[in-house]
């Protein structure tokens, strides 16, 4: 087994992709220096600054350059330092990248990856702590990946890079330095669009994304002490969403709690709830409960932020509500 971190796994996975395919390039602010979370550490040293390109603070143009480069044969991996900055490049991503294949009648492809990170927990306040993945899931043509661990990074990032479509990978800033052991032989790439059943159980289904997968697993362990066996599912990709795996579980358990870090109102949980109530209406024994952040901007103060970010306690409370 190899001891590693989420951030180091990103760097290692990018390096492997760049070794295997010279069309893979990395660009973004400070990427040649490793970036603030060291997720591109060592790449410039190995591959040079022609393929690991530091850019000005011009998110829109950087994203547009990646689109043009992707259309002309490269496989760019762009880093936007915080998902909070995605608003600066959204036109490029939505009107440029997501629609090109469709509008050209299939002639153009935009095989690019946009890596960014979201989530609270580092006292970044209202403009550096958001979870905005739900916006991206409303855009046909984009794929959205939310890896919850180094293992998922190793499994999914290569598939994102190999995908012929624009893929946004939303990492979690609180997971970057989380320690994890991976098998020595490595982790095989896995296709996008397949959920992972993290834990089996028959009493309630908990669908959790990104950091909340760990909170949900912890909640499940505590529930087990009280004789309640929760099934924990990590969708891993929000688009495409593996509804069959979730629906099969809910049909068995009859109860669903959805947990994410984004605001509950307008968060991605609504999409899962809407789909599941339609697919599993007659199997549901209780209303679907969503656990998310309250509908406010992210506060700075540690006391407020800790209360803002949902965790194990909120998931347990949600499970209590569906169990009645």
């Amino acid at each position: 087994m190899t001891e590693t971190t989420y951030a180091a796994t990103i760097a290692a996975t990018l390096a492997a992709a760049m070794r295997a395919d010279e069309r893979v390039v990395v660009l973004g602010e400070d990427v040649a220096l490793g970036g603030p979370y060291l997720a591109t550490k060592g790449l410039a040293e190995e591959f040079g600054t022609a393929r690991v390109v530091n850019t000005p603070i011009s998110e829109a143009a950087i994203c547009g350059v990646a689109i043009g480069a992707a259309q002309s044969g490269l496989r760019p991996v762009v880093e936007v330092m915080f998902v909070d900055f995605i608003g600066l490049a959204l036109d490029q991503l939505v009107n440029g990248a997501a629609k090109a294949h469709f509008m050209s009648g299939g002639q153009l492809c935009v095989p690019m990856v946009l890596r960014t990170q979201g989530g609270a927990g580092q006292r970044g306040a209202a403009q550096h702590s958001q979870s905005l993945e739900s916006w991206l899931t409303h855009v046909p043509g984009l794929k959205v990946v939310v890896p919850a661990s180094a293992r998922e990074v190793a499994a999914l990032l290569p598939s994102a890079i190999a995908d012929p479509n624009p893929v946004v990978v939303v990492e979690s800033k609180t997971l970057y330095f989380r320690h994890e052991t991976l098998p020595d032989e490595g982790v095989s790439p896995e296709p996008l669009g397949h959920a992972r059943v993290v834990r089996r159980g028959d009493d309630v289904t908990i669908v959790a994304t990104s950091k909340m997968v760990h909170e949900a697993t912890e909640a499940a362990a505590r529930l087990s002490e009280h004789g309640v066996e929760a099934e924990v599912i990590d969708p891993r990709t929000l688009v495409p969403l593996d509804l069959p795996t979730i629906a099969a579980s809910v049909r068995r358990t009859g109860r669903l709690v959805i947990a994410h870090e984004a605001v509950e109102h307008g968060g991605f949980g609504a999409e899962i709830a809407a789909e599941v109530q339609e697919a599993c209406f007659y199997d549901l024994d209780a209303p679907i409960v969503r656990v998310g952040a309250p509908f406010t901007p992210v506060p700075l103060s540690p006391a407020l932020e800790d209360a803002y970010v949902p965790g194990t306690a909120e998931i347990l409370d949600g499970v209590r509500r569906v169990l009645g």
Binding site: T55, I57, L88, Q122, A126, Q127, T174, S301, P302
Partner: protein, 351 residues
């Protein structure tokens, strides 16, 4: 009254000794405040866990600019924003408490280091997103133009911001509409950890960044941002031009920030600190950094005032002692202030 400490003057006349001493006092207060914020990382670990950006090294530029303001003028800044409100007279106790995320903070702990406001003193805040406050300042200048009370808005931002679309769009409109605004680009030579010549076509060609003003048919000027008197004179000119309706100016103020871009970013539980300046940590250029230290504008200005006889060494010591005591008090207040109630934000989502 807005800007109680600012001159009343629209004219760029010579600064009197009292004013020069006032400027030194503000520079020293800012330095002391920033150093105290920085030392909080080691002396009170865990209190500061957000993104904190310090302005030490830019004091002369900040104070020289603020000193040129008239009552009623307004400023809009970046997330590196501690210095301006100090010079404008904002209570340092409430500032420190805000940076610590405490209930007694300027914004009750909802904003933090990057999001300070003091509207009564003309400080309209800024944005945590690079360059995105430039259009806000431009809109405030439009409001000032309509109000016709002779107000000017000064918009501060860094060199990196000039590569954002918001800069281009805003300066074009400000020039087109002859808005009463002065754009002050504090060029500190690094965009986070990228050198300016690695990300800016002008810098790469050895041109001053004030060259960009040509793209907007606007006045562009570069000034030594380590010299508060020179900054004051440049701003006074630019403010007069703005006030007279002639149009905006782009001022490039050359500064050297003496701390790294911001504190280390790490997960909760890992004690944060301020890393070494990028010149050393990334580019291995200790000579550059040490030269910058030798040119530190705060002791340089003290030396100038003492040598000229404007300020005695004893008075300078007293100013510094008073500033230390003030910041001691600010820090005590911030440490003692309670954490806000967890639900205290809910009332402020909508006005």
């Amino acid at each position: 009254m807005a800007n109680a400490n600012a001159t009343d003057g629209s004219a760029p006349e010579a600064l009197d000794p009292e004013r020069l001493v006032w400027m030194y006092t503000q520079m020293y207060r800012i330095r002391e405040f920033e150093e105290r914020v920085k030392s909080t990382f080691t002396e009170h670990p865990g209190i500061l866990r957000g993104h904190t950006h310090l302005a030490d090294g830019a004091e002369a530029s900040i104070v020289g600019s603020v000193a040129a303001l008239a009552p009623g003028d307004q400023i809009v800044t970046t997330y590196r924003c501690h210095g301006y409100p100090i010079a404008l007279g904002t209570d340092t106790k409430r500032m420190m408490a805000e940076i610590y995320g405490k209930e007694g903070g300027l914004c009750g702990g909802l904003g933090g280091s990057m999001h300070l406001y003091d509207v009564d003193r003309g400080f309209l805040g800024g944005s945590g997103i690079v360059a995105q406050a430039i259009p806000h300042a431009t809109g405030a200048a439009w409001a000032a133009q309509i109000r016709r009370q002779g107000q000017v808005v000064v918009c501060f931002f860094g060199d990196g911001a000039s590569k954002q679309g918001a800069f281009h769009e805003s300066l074009n409109i400000a020039s087109l509409w002859k808005l009463p605004i002065v754009y002050v680009m504090e060029n500190n030579r690094y965009q986070a950890s990228t050198r300016t010549d690695q990300e800016d076509a002008n810098a790469a060609s050895g041109e001053p960044l004030s060259t960009k003003a040509k793209a907007y048919s606007m006045e562009g000027v570069t000034v030594d941002g380590a010299d508060p008197v020179a900054v004051h004179a440049t701003l006074a000119d630019a403010l007069a031009r703005a006030r007279s309706g002639t149009g905006p100016t782009l001022v490039e103020s050359l500064v050297y920030r003496l701390s790294a871009h911001g504190n280390l970013i790490a997960p909760p539980g890992v004690p944060l600190n301020y890393p070494e300046h990028e010149a050393i940590a990334i580019f291995g250029n200790r000579d550059e950094y040490e030269a910058a230290l030798r040119g530190d504008p705060v002791p340089r200005f003290r030396h100038q005032l003492v040598t000229e006889g404007t300020l005695s060494a004893a008075d300078a010591d007293a100013i510094e002692q008073a500033a230390r005591e003030e910041i001691d008090e600010a820090q005590r207040f911030a440490l003692d202030s309670p954490w806000p109630a967890p639900d205290s934000g809910l009332a402020y989502v909508y006005a």
